[in-house]
Symmetry: none
Subunit: 217 residues, 2 copies
DNA sequence: CCCGGAGCTGAGCGATGGCTGAAGAGGTGG
DNA sequence: CCACCTCTTCAGCCATCGCTCAGCTCCGGG
């Protein structure tokens, strides 16, 4: 991410890390080429307004030297900026001020579109397809609500890793300091639907959180 | 698409995929014959400047071995190139640097001209012919208004994928931040006509959007 | 074996999302 | 200038969802 406002940079990078991405933040385009070569990003989040070289110049550098996706951050009324950015090959843009969850959603949408992320994840006999919003247990389709699906997607992205309820609250709801029971309620609902046609996949780790894992043997 | 600049390849392929096409990108003409036989493209987007065999040689191979359309990418001042390309049978050309939307438009224009566009899409027993604006449910013709047809075309191009109302608003109406009820009203009208003679095809996914999908199983 | 805290879940409610009929605005052709 | 048609807005309705709460169970430690 290239963003000179430190607060925004910190907030966004922690939200993206929560979602399972590796993130580097730089305040400007200084030695962009070197950074790109070193870090080899799949995607760059690019502020339009930057000290030194502005976002559009950096966009061209990125396009010329890498295959990375680009999501631009533009000011609310920067319609011209937006078109200019999309024209020159930005994959998407987000208007400031934005909700963190929206940025994260767009980032993963672009990555998916670029084929950098498998849109369908499999855990045991459970299939989660992000594009079509279809979830299958074996061959049986599972009907989920929007929140359940968001929760499942997050757990699927973190599969095999134990995630705390606090972590889930910030990643899925954007809440910072909240009643963990909210997570418990939705985990409960999710389990009822997921495990109706098969063994347990969503395990409780007492005192730590939850894991999505297929237990063989 | 044959394009050695990775950035351009990525941008174009994602734009074309958005428009509903299946795309493969190759950096050069290596084993072009094999690739053509395997992928059987309806159209090839061909960069003129390529390492190894240049675009014109590849153009001849394509013409000799397939019926595919060809759109060439030429440098700004390559007038000679352009004429040479058209002479030898390219269907159209786009000058670099180009606007993504223009390339997409030319690609679909060529496909339509060649009659290669599966200008007709089938979802279950629903037939949508984009050119003739004919829509059939089973054998029964369905009378749609202009807006309904645009909406249906978009959904058909994205079939199987859940599309949000916001996404529909920008794709079909060009609106940026608008009342989603507009979409709901037209979806409602579309359903009344489409589903008069058959089961539901245009499904609501609460909290996410709509999908055009034929449910078997 | 008992106790406390962690986790689970059914019930209830307010809020939201989605659908639709109706009416007005705009445009087109007769 | 009128009649018709399409598009859009609006408002009310309904179903469902998401959250809170409270009582319960379960598990592990002492």
């Amino acid at each position: 991410m290239i963003e000179d406002a430190e607060a925004i940079g910190a907030a966004v990078s922690s939200a993206l890390r929560e979602a399972g991405y590796q993130v580097q933040v730089r305040p400007d385009g200084r030695d962009l080429e070197g950074e790109l070569a070193r870090f080899r990003p799949d995607l760059v989040v690019l502020d339009v307004m930057l000290p030194g070289r502005d976002g559009f110049m950096l966009l061209e550098v990125i396009r010329r030297t890498t295959g990375a996706g680009v999501v631009m951050l533009t000011a609310r009324d920067g319609v011209a900026d937006r078109l200019r950015g999309l024209d020159r090959g930005a994959d998407d843009y987000v208007v400031k001020p934005f909700v963190l969850a929206e940025l994260v959603a767009r980032v993963s949408a672009v990555l998916r579109r670029l084929g950098r992320t498998p849109s369908t994840v499999q855990i045991g006999d459970l299939l989660v397809d992000a594009d079509s919003a279809v979830v299958l247990r074996g061959d049986v389709p599972v009907e989920l609500t929007a929140t359940e699906l968001r929760l499942l997607r997050y757990l699927a992205a973190q599969r095999g890793r134990v995630v705390g309820k606090t972590q889930i609250l910030t990643a899925v709801w954007g809440y910072e300091d909240y009643d963990p029971n909210l997570v418990e309620v939705h985990v409960s609902a999710l389990r009822r639907k997921l495990e109706e046609h098969g063994p347990r996949l969503l395990h409780t780790v007492r005192g730590l959180g939850y894991v999505l894992r297929a237990d063989e043997t």
